[in-house]
């Protein structure tokens, strides 16, 4: 609690222009508390299986994704275009360890599955921990070949990695593990995944989405907390220093390899956590889910929000998710038909996103909720440019 209060400084600054500082300072504390309380009670205002609650759950899962990618791209400045790989690893963790997919195995640990069911059935939390382990290793592996690269070249390598994982997922049916088992079920998908089960709470169902909501809400709070703590630590400073000037950073004693790999691993682990949740929530893992467009979607979230800004990532993820999963399909989908046009708005989703991105880049290139330091830096640069313009303009003005 007290931590969140301290970290809500950016909110404070945003409202400081409107209200006296002493009031603003108290507000930020209240704001954090209020947001958490609102977050907890929110599901009670909607039907247990409403479309809005569904969209909110997905949006929160994307917040976790965005916070993870923000560590890699925003903090450490490593443009990762293959983030979908960690979604895939997370989702497959549920497929492997929370279903009857490995039918020769018979392992049950506190799961919702019947005790006689074949396969590996671990508790949701255990699957989450497995996924964190798998994705942080995968993140480190993808990080290794990019260590000697910079900027655009990192983007290309990570993009290829994401595509490789996607192709492996599709063709996993041909990778035999022995005993008739394969690595993935390809485009057929692994379905009938275990619904999360918590001792004392019971099984989750798809008729009542509220437990799902609270689960992802808790995950968001944990990931947010870790993000805020890391940003303001020795590690966060090292990431930002590497982003700003790699040569100077290593000359100041920052170990390049360890620091970069840490960013990859932590970012990947968050992606994996979100992947586990999204996989379990969809109750199926299908290879066709892991497309390149997913990576771009998450990247768009943190760019719209403001690269490197934690609250920007949260805001960008919520905004784009709601537009994509609620506003377009549920609210505005039939809009073209009311104008006598013969198509659904969902068919235009990518066009709408493209337009929104262009709009943000033109009107607010630093993002909706820019990182404090970036905002200041941008203003400082603009001020310097202005000064030059004024200097350059003086003789002309004098001549006129």
């Amino acid at each position: 609690m007290s931590e969140l209060r301290a970290q809500l400084q950016e909110w404070r600054e945003a409202i400081a222009a409107l209200v006296p500082s002493w009031l603003a300072r108290r507000w930020s504390r209240w704001l954090a508390g209020a947001l958490i309380v609102i977050g907890i009670v929110l599901p009670f205002f909607f039907a247990p299986a409403s479309g809005f609650l569904n969209a909110t759950i997905i949006a929160l899962a994307y917040v976790v994704m965005a916070l993870g990618l923000n560590v890699v791209v925003g903090f450490a400045g490593l443009l990762d275009l293959g983030y979908v790989a960690f979604y895939a690893f997370g989702a497959y963790a549920v497929g492997w360890f929370g279903s009857g997919f490995f039918f020769n195995a018979h392992i049950h640990v506190l799961s919702s599955a019947l005790g006689t069911a074949p396969g590996i059935h671990l508790n949701f939390v255990l699957i989450l921990l497995c996924a964190i382990g798998i994705t942080s290793v995968a993140g480190t592996i993808i990080g290794l070949p990019t260590l000697r690269l910079r900027g655009d070249y990192i983007a290309i390598v990570t993009l290829a990695f994401g595509e490789i994982i996607g192709v492996v997922a599709v063709n996993g049916t041909s990778i035999h593990l022995g005993g008739g088992e394969t690595l993935t079920a390809g485009n057929l998908g692994i379905s009938a995944l275990d619904l999360p089960y918590f001792p004392g709470i019971g099984n989750f169902t798809l008729l009542d989405l509220r437990p799902w909501y609270w689960l992802i809400f808790v995950i968001v709070l944990i990931v947010l907390f870790v993000n805020l703590r890391l940003r303001d630590s020795r590690i966060g400073r090292a990431w930002i220093a590497l982003r700003e000037d790699e040569i100077a950073a290593v000359s100041m004693g920052i170990p390049l390899v360890r620091t970069k790999l840490m960013a990859y691993a932590i970012g990947a682990a968050f992606g994996g956590m979100s992947g586990v949740f999204l996989g379990a929530y969809a109750t199926t893992v299908n290879a066709s889910q892991f497309a390149f467009s997913f990576s771009i979607f998450v990247l768009a979230m943190i760019i719209v929000g403001g690269l490197g800004s934690i609250w920007g990532a949260v805001l960008g993820a919520l905004l784009l998710s709601y537009i994509n999963y609620y506003l377009i399909p549920d609210v505005l989908n039939s809009l073209p038909r009311t104008f006598g046009l013969n198509f659904d708005l969902t068919q235009l989703s990518f066009g709408i996103f493209g337009f929104l991105l262009v709009l943000v880049m033109v009107l607010r290139p630093q993002g909706l909720f820019p990182e404090r330091r970036r905002r200041l830096e941008l203003t400082a640069e603009i001020a310097a440019e202005d000064a030059q313009l004024v200097e350059a303009g003086t003789p002309t003005a004098g001549a006129a």
Partner: protein
């Protein structure tokens, strides 16, 4: 008050903190540094001079691990650091500044200096997330130490929290020195610290370098173009031209060397 001669005598008796032994660096076919040897005695101020493109900064980059020498050896104390990583070399006590200031633009002056402490801090992932009492204390101490250092190099308090890009040129130079000092080096490499300074500021920096040596027990290796500063502060000078060492010795000797005059002013016919 000690004279330059006495300081020189003392410095020359001291064992070498860093020994550069016959170092060569080639980029493709271009030989940037060729067979250069330099001894840097403990608690001395040694200058590296030479015309533009003589290989001075290339040599610095090899001493700090940014470049690997094509051949030759670099020894710090008893340890061979020829192939060591830059962050390891910093950890062993070598810190530097850059010819074109390389501060972290989007970080405050204070944060820049705190980065300098990185190799002296322990906080890892778990400690940072849980913010254990030890990490909390470390963070507080480092912040306090960074403030002291900024104060020491003469940055005004109201500039501590400004972003590096917002600082004046002089303050940026000062913050960069503070950042290097934060790494707690025994050897400080300064790459043209007086670039862009007026004569008064250069004179002040000359005094400041002596203070660093005397108060913090530092050894300083300096690349400098301002001959007044060089002759004033150095106990020894090494002159490079086209990647090779053409002269070495006390300021008076170097000043009298024909080859040095030739390198700077051209050949007399």
């Amino acid at each position: 008050m000690t004279t330059v001669a006495e300081e020189l005598g003392g410095a020359l008796e001291a064992p070498a903190l860093m020994r550069v032994e016959r170092v060569t660096k080639e980029f493709g076919g271009l030989v940037a540094v060729s067979d250069v040897s330099v001894d840097v005695p403990t608690r001395s101020i040694v200058s590296l001079i030479g015309p533009n493109g003589a290989g001075k900064t290339t040599l610095f980059n090899m001493l700090t691990g940014l470049y690997r020498p094509t051949s030759g050896r670099i020894v710090l104390g008893e340890r061979d650091i020829t192939r060591a990583r830059p962050d390891v070399i910093t950890g062993l006590g070598v810190a530097r500044t850059f010819q074109n200031i390389r501060l972290f633009g989007a970080m405050s002056a204070l944060e820049n200096v705190m980065i300098g402490h990185h190799s002296r801090m322990r906080a890892g992932f778990a400690g940072s997330v849980l913010r254990t009492p030890r990490v909390r204390r470390e963070e507080r101490e480092v912040r306090e130490r960074a403030r002291e250092l900024l104060d020491y190099v003469g940055v005004r308090h109201d500039a501590f929290d400004r972003l590096a890009v917002q600082l004046s040129y002089g303050d940026q130079r000062r913050v960069e020195i503070a950042r290097a000092l934060a790494a707690e080096p025994s050897l400080l490499l300064l790459d043209e610290p007086t670039a862009g300074m007026n004569p008064q500021e250069s004179a002040a920096l000359t005094g400041f370098m002596r203070r660093l040596r005397d108060e913090l027990n530092l050894t300083i290796l300096l690349i400098e173009h301002d001959m007044k500063v060089v002759m004033d502060v150095s106990e020894r000078i090494t002159v490079l031209d086209h990647g090779t060492k053409i002269a070495e010795g006390a300021p008076a000797d170097v000043r009298a060397s024909d080859r040095v005059i030739e390198a700077y002013l051209g050949k007399q016919d």
